[in-house]
Symmetry: C3
Subunit: 151 residues, 3 copies
């Protein structure tokens, strides 16, 4: 019988937790739960959203969801899509890389308003994995967006 190596199990649990956390962003953003979105980040977490600038700390991140722009998007009908991420674990920190798409309702269909590159830095806290920093930039030919996707 092979010996049980709890590190192997833990790495799988870490990847699962990070995947679940990323998978919760879209639903929480689309139903407008600003507090729950902000709680995905660590206390000192930050979120850089392309040309909109950087939100630092949970209050500023919640404010993105509470903003008039986001609330109007919700009323119009929107879908925040996050793709299955590439995950690189390194002990108590991790990097995840994926795409996000913001669809907005338009006539009898949806338009892909933003298709972006995302790079997430995660940290293990006493309350589980949290986002330390998320970098998001639309893929409109911008070299800085492409750079986020290097692995």
């Amino acid at each position: 019988m092979e010996q049980f190596d709890s590190n192997r199990l833990r790495r799988l649990e870490d990847a699962e937790a990070i995947r679940n956390l990323i998978a919760s962003y879209g639903p929480l953003a689309d139903c407008g739960d600003a507090g729950a979105v902000a709680a995905l980040w660590s206390d000192d977490g930050s979120y850089s959203v392309g040309d909109f600038g950087e939100a630092k700390g949970r209050q500023a991140i919640a404010a993105l969801i509470e903003s008039e722009m986001h609330q109007n998007l919700m009323k119009q009908g929107c879908g925040h899509i996050l793709t299955s991420p590439h995950i690189s674990l390194d002990g108590d920190s991790a990097i995840a890389t994926n795409h996000s798409i913001v669809f907005r309702s338009a006539d009898d269909r949806h338009e892909a308003w933003r298709v972006s590159a995302n790079r997430w830095q995660f940290v293990r806290t006493d309350d589980g994995w949290r986002v330390r920093h998320r970098d998001n930039r639309p893929l409109t030919g911008d070299e800085r967006a492409r750079a986020l996707l290097s692995l």
Copy 2:
């Protein structure tokens, strides 16, 4: 050496099985395998598809795939996209939350015909995990769609 806790392994297997089941819906819908789609649900399973109403039981779920509307969509060219779900396990039941997109072919590109919120109830059966209920509603500003995405 840490003691082996088989519950930790089982929870990972449960999440993996549910993720794989959701990942099979799109391919099976797009290749028109009505029987295999229906078999993802439990015997008494149901599927509520926005304003199209609710399909109760496997025969009614298979009929959605066999319908003229779905068959025409397949001939035109369609892609049923399911995003990586947020999964909440609770013993022999589970809730998964994600987005779905139905693309249809149009001229030299694809249109996002429907971008929807999805809430799945799963149950562990003797044959493995099955869908007990799937609730799907297009994200067109409808509060009921947004409500499906609360976690």
Copy 3:
């Protein structure tokens, strides 16, 4: 205490590795890392891209990324989206099935240029899992594309 079964752990690790590999394709394609894309395949791997034909071997696969068409797509702004795959493990080989979407930037939004069916054959090598063959075909009503999605 239940006995530890290392095969259960290994199957989870296999699925995780394959999922991570597929999740790396889009980021690597979008940032133009031709060598890293090619290294996802085995030495004798191949990639059949719909009507563009089949690329055989790593050099030919790298050439797809280095091609004028792909480089222009990157400059215009593109997002190669890969959905969470259905994975069937069989010892040292595996089949994964999913969708891919190529978005390209257009005016103030993105267009879904190609929505395709994908069937991936994986093989376990001394360096880990690699793609032996990927079959990609746009879902434009083509029966051959639909056939790739049967499970």
